[in-house]
Subunit: 305 residues, 4 copies
């Protein structure tokens, strides 16, 4: 049986829950939130949905002890409003840091020994803090990190060529935040190296503008709806599925980087243990410098936790 | 190709959209909202999700002319906050009535000639008003009505017996509102008539309490999350799928009742034309009286539109 | 993680496997067949498919020790050709009996302690024999039995009314074989009692003819394609899903009947332990006699095993 | 509504049908076969399955006139036994050529104007012949071609690295037959160029052996099961979904190559019109020579049709 826990049933958490339930992915689901009435309401709404679905999922709430035998735990807390004023995910830090300080010991006490997928912002620092404080290994704990920013890169590049975003490969790397960058040297469009292909097609791309559009993708979504949910939830669910089926699936996530001694968005291979290994890729010297800079940004902030 | 329109991309509308996209149901989707920036943000968020999905959906926004060849149009406008103060869906009336007055002529002008599925409250009256003002037939226009309240009945009854809600049959009928009622005489649990079976099992059920729990199911969900979305969206999507595959699928919806000359929640058969026919079922005299009373309640309110 | 074993990768077994893989239901799958080259080929074909799917499944073959931690084991052996000549599923008995005699000790030795779903014919007798010889409880072992014949009843009745087969409730009961019967007294069409409704609609149904069409449904499929696979595989998968999600899902299956001391097709509730309990339903005296007769037929044949 | 036709309900055709039905992809499906009793049986088996599914599909048989408004037509005829003796797909030619000669005028007469996806062997020649004789454009008609051989390449390469086949990119090109080849220069493993990466990992790959394993992948599957079905069906369905959602999805298919004036397996972009355009990729001189040679092989055989 596939058992999932979700701590934090805000917009991201419930979209993950809805996806797991409506696609028949979860056999059992445990919802936990600071606000008990929120958890109760989401449980009810998901149960109402089940009479109309082909599959069934047991939905429990507010019980940390249920995490003991969970396969996957999503941490999806957040306070996007806090980020609004400054336009930086670090603005959520004070709030989410307090949450992690509160929930990490409870996760530890539950005996949970599965894989954690964290969407909480500032993603890289919070994920690392959670890993340490919940007494789990770096293999077991990952953040969605730049997996989402990579999806945005795929969307933005695809639009330039009328292509399908699934046919865009490559990575947004570094912090799930302002210091992130696209490793343009490795981006490919329908299997053509982007930079070369764009020239060949006579397309004069402004990579700085594209990168800005990608980096600000979350804010563009936030602007009209007040939060982001669909992109991030599908990323989180995809990682969870890779763990459950031991898929050895390669994609960028926020995980521990030995060289920089920090969590950071980088390509890795996901399997039943979580982050099976980091997939070291070729970067240009400029990209390496950007990665280093991004790592330092994350570490600096982490030091304040 | 399956083409859907959604007018009103609030919580219900976007959950419908997310379901259609993530389950690969929609080939093309048109999102329309009073707030253009909301529509833009939802489009972006759904596009971000697509790099992580196996299927593709074209997502357009804010263009009524695109409805011309749409198969299904969801009307999912609403202002649940308005309903909060009074605890009645009629409190949304002023707001949603204005919306329908605004969008109906635009739907008409678009040349749309498919099937409308309406979730807007007060559902029965708004659906009827929309049907008339958009120049569509009663066959083409249905409301989710008590299809959702029936799901809640299935949940509430299932809980009493540790059963699966999919194994509870029967109906909540009448208004998608306070005058609704459960036709207990026809409810079945694992194929046993409920009332008889409960007695046999020595279960002393208080049907008034159960009915109240069902009737107030929406408010219970609302209480903690501030709106309802998952139950209603799965109901709306299920109806849409029945239309597209001409499924002749029987279930309760809000549709036109000749005897009472009003839209009301009643069993019907859904196929490619929309509401293929009303499925007349046996009711006790008491249940008949409740249906009549509920119809009068709806008509009374409708008269004020 | 969801782990499944399949013993017997003929048409039914591989259709179950294909369904589990393509719908992302299985995380791990173990295929076992007398013919090793058949298992190898099916493994290869399923692996070829995975590059085109969104989900991943680990596929292992020919290793009984892998069943130790499997959740579900399908027994899908069979030799439909043997049944061809006589038009009776009992003709497969000699062949399938030998298979079960061979595999039961291996299942036992593997330490398997999950739930068995058996599609092998003659289904009721083989399932019972397997249950006893594999050292498993009657709770843990079920046959698809008349779940498939009930699907055929739903199809045949639905066609009479232009209804959707999902809106037909009721049961085909007894042997998954010639002595089976439809409990017409409990069949419902769009929530109307069938017999009464047909009269009311002026439809003069010949129930013997319908029953014969249902009973011979397997042969009708067999006639043109040489085997049956799709109906039976979807039934088997649905039961497996009910077990994994502890769904407490009610439906007819072949399971142990205390009164008759035999496995037989009867309504039951399926959950994580397998057959959670038999759902005793009301039958007319004539139907009771048919069930008794069917039980005796099964027992008689079982005695020869 | 999504409407599909399938001509030839052998193993491939029915697996496509089962996939379209069980995944809720098709609203309407038309099955056509030389053997009417086969079509009837498959229709029945698929209908039996539907009582156990969440979605509905209308299934019609043996009526060419129903193709008039179909979106997609699969041609899945074949006689794999014919190929057995020689180990070459060309051995099916005599049989399949006769089938296409028979069905092409019927397709034309039906007024079908959608997209054809052909799996019939020898795939490239038959697809081209069908295109010409059915009076359809080269845009409208594609064969699965080396899309399947590419899936096999992905599987074979993935196995070498313990990777996920979805993370292997690149192409098998040319004939869906013996003259096919892998364009190794463009194959990538977890985003690393294969050849370079293998060296770096100290893996001494024998590319000729790998290519032989890929080329003979169909025969390896055939050897144990007597036909191939799952890999090819998932390829065909994926192409169909790309057409329906106008996905602009890039992948290798058999389509018309202007330079060589023949159908051949090459990268293309699939959208609502079918093959939107050929995606010209970089090949080494050796690979170019292989493609030319493969094209000549196809043309030679085509000339004999």
């Amino acid at each position: 049986m596939r058992k999932f826990g979700i701590i934090g049933v805000g917009h991201v958490g419930v979209t993950v829950a809805y996806t797991l339930v409506t696609k028949g992915i979860a056999d059992e689901l445990v919802l936990i939130d600071k606000k008990e009435d929120k958890a109760i309401s989401e449980q009810l709404d998901l149960q109402d949905a089940q009479a109309r679905l082909d599959t069934s999922t047991i939905i429990k709430i507010q019980d940390y002890s249920e995490l003991k035998d969970a396969d996957i735990l999503f941490l999806t807390a957040g306070k996007v409003d806090a980020a609004k004023e400054t336009g930086s995910r670090w603005a959520e830090f004070e709030y989410t840091n307090a949450i992690v300080k509160e929930v990490a010991p409870k996760i530890k006490a539950s005996g949970f020994n599965g894989v954690v997928i964290d969407t909480t912002n500032p993603c890289d620092a919070i994920t690392q803090y959670l890993q340490k404080s919940a007494g789990l290994t770096t293999t077991q704990v990952m953040g969605t990190g730049t997996f989402l920013d990579t999806a945005r890169m795929q969307r933005v590049v695809a639009e330039q060529f009328g292509a399908n975003s699934k046919n865009i490969t490559g990575y947004t790397l570094g912090e799930h935040g302002d210091s992130q960058f696209v490793a343009w040297s490795g981006v490919r469009v329908n299997n053509h190296p982007l930079v070369e292909f764009a020239k060949q097609q006579g397309k004069d791309l402004n990579y700085d503008d594209l990168e800005e559009e990608i980096r600000k993708g979350g804010w563009a979504v936030y602007k009209g709806k007040g939060y982001t949910s669909f992109g991030i939830a599908t990323c989180a669910v995809k990682l969870a599925q890779a763990v459950l089926s031991d898929a050895q699936f390669e994609c960028p996530v926020s995980c521990y980087n030995e060289e920089f001694d920090t969590y950071i968005g980088q390509p890795a291979v996901i399997g039943k243990h979580g982050v099976e290994f980091v997939n070291e890729i070729k970067l240009t010297d400029e990209e390496k410098a950007k990665l280093k800079n991004s790592a330092e940004t994350i570490k600096e902030k982490f030091a304040t936790m």
